[in-house]
């Protein structure tokens, strides 16, 4: 209330009267601008580029935004399409999985069916074989009955052969193996002798010790059928007691291949100077000019035969002038 009163008093404040002549002075002092206001105030028009710069800037920004919007819209559309295609692919994938599962089940069923077919086929084959066997069994029974009738009517059954009789007829397989091993040993000895001769002017070795380098092991100098001789553990401890074979052509020439080089007194195997090995069988060893030859007995010289008899103690020895020096019947076999 007081404020309103105060405001009323303030609004009704006294106004001083201007002195006389003030208005005239003020009107006389009026000095308006001579040039038109517009020409003074308005500046010169700016160049068109400057005037259009805001519009161009806005247009540029708008254009850039439009381009960005278009690009984003395009990428969004593309992403949507990819999403759709992926979704359809996923649906197809599910369908393919289901179809694959069905296919696998069908395949398993088909395999079982194939197995069953094979089993059925085998069963049929077995049945056919059983039928065939049954026929054969029946035929065999018939034949057995006929055979029994024949045997009962003609002669008794022969006695079965025993093992001893069989080995006596065929021979001991152990002896045969030892004989073959003996032949093999003589072959290796002959080969070693020929190698040595090649290196020594085609002259065969004088004794066993000279071909130790050519022989692989002292084992081959002992016949497997000779149970009285031991194999030398090495060449340094080698002696005459470790040899089963006779060396019959010392210092011989390789140009005489038919001369007997080695001989096994146990198996009567003979190795010639050409490296070949022969079983004596019906053949005999004959001596001529101090050398031993393998000859047919029908062609044997009586003198040679006599000499051989003497050598092996079948006849008393004489002292003829042409007795070979390198054959000593008293010398044990295998002495080099």
């Amino acid at each position: 209330m007081i404020d309103e009163k105060l405001e009323n008093i303030l609004r009704k404040a006294p106004r001083a009267t201007p002195p006389d002549g003030l208005l005239a002075r003020l009107q006389a002092d009026i000095s308006l601008p001579k040039q038109p206001l517009r020409s003074v105030v308005e500046p010169e028009p700016a160049p068109w580029l400057r005037r259009l710069l805001p519009a161009l800037g806005f247009a540029g920004c708008f254009l850039a935004c439009a381009v960005v919007f278009a690009v984003q819209t395009s990428s969004l559309t593309q992403l949507r399409k990819e999403n759709e295609s992926l979704r359809t692919a996923t649906q197809n994938l599910e369908q393919l999985r289901r179809e694959n599962g069905d296919y696998q089940r069908l395949l398993a069923g088909n395999q079982e069916l194939e197995l069953l077919r094979k089993d059925a086929l085998e069963l049929q084959q077995l049945r056919a074989e059983v039928a065939l066997l049954r026929g054969q069994v029946e035929q065999m029974a018939k034949m057995r009955a006929e055979n029994q009738q024949w045997v009962a009517g003609v002669q008794p059954m022969p006695r079965a052969e025993t093992d001893q009789e069989f080995f006596a007829r065929v021979g001991d397989p152990g002896d045969k193996a030892k004989r073959i091993q003996c032949v093999n040993n003589l072959k290796q000895i002959g080969l070693a002798a020929r190698i040595w001769a090649n290196d020594n002017n085609d002259v065969l070795p004088p004794n066993w010790l000279t071909i130790t380098n050519e022989l692989s092991t002292p084992k081959i100098l002992v016949c497997p059928g000779d149970s009285g001789r031991q194999v030398a553990p090495n060449w340094t401890s080698f002696s005459a007691a470790n040899v089963s074979y006779e060396f019959l052509n010392p210092n011989g020439s390789e140009a005489e291949p038919e001369v007997v080089l080695t001989r096994c007194p146990i198996h009567n195997n003979v190795g010639l100077s050409d490296g070949s090995v022969h079983q004596l069988g019906k053949n005999r060893i004959t001596m001529k000019d101090g050398k031993y030859y393998l000859t047919d007995p029908s062609q044997l010289n009586p003198d040679t035969q006599k000499l051989m008899r003497q050598r092996y103690g079948l006849e008393p020895q004489e002292a003829p002038a042409g007795q070979p020096t390198n054959v000593n019947p008293q010398q044990p076999p295998g002495q080099p």
Partner: protein, 184 residues
């Protein structure tokens, strides 16, 4: 009137002397009364009025119709008064005696003698206000500008104008209720 002042101003800007004279005749009393209250004598008030209108004619080209012509004119008057006070190095308001004399010279708005005394006392209290508040009271109450026009003339915010008016009314209310002041 406002539209008429705007039209006259526009004609004056075009160089119409009669329009400018009409503007002067219309506003010079208010401006003179404004300066008369603030300056305290007729001579200074007349000089300040002349300076104000001189600046108006010089600055008329820069007037851009953003406020009313009256507001713009009072803004120029306010700056002219501030410059004048700075030049004269005046920091204090006018004395009560002057205001009482000034008020006695003017026509009385009220017939009641007691009210005239109270109004005289209130006017003298207004001159005791702080300068900014006093300027605000002068423009708003004495010159009849609205709060917005006062703010534009003083180049301050409307909220500041309201605050200053409230401050002035509080001061006046307090002072009018104090018995010792009434006695003095």
């Amino acid at each position: 009137m406002c539209d008429n002042a705007q039209a006259l101003c526009e004609h004056a800007r075009q160089g119409d002397l009669s329009a400018a004279s009409e503007l002067v005749a219309h506003f010079y009393e208010r401006i003179f009364a404004y300066f008369r209250r603030l300056a305290g004598n007729d001579e200074d008030a007349a000089d300040l009025t002349q300076k104000t209108f001189f600046k108006v004619w010089v600055s008329l080209a820069s007037y851009q119709n953003r406020s009313s012509f009256s507001t713009w004119l009072h803004g120029i008057a306010h700056h002219v008064y501030v410059d004048w006070r700075r030049k004269k190095n005046l920091t204090e308001a006018q004395s009560d005696e002057w205001w009482e004399a000034c008020a006695a010279e003017g026509p009385s708005p009220s017939e009641d003698a007691s009210e005239r005394e109270a109004a005289k006392y209130i006017y003298s209290l207004v001159e005791r206000l702080e300068d900014g508040v006093r300027q605000t009271v002068h423009l708003h109450y004495y010159q009849g500008l609205s709060i917005r026009e006062t703010a534009e003339a003083l180049n301050i915010a409307t909220s500041t104008v309201k605050y200053r008016l409230r401050e002035a009314l509080d001061f006046l209310r307090v002072k009018t209720l104090e018995p010792q002041f009434r006695k003095t």
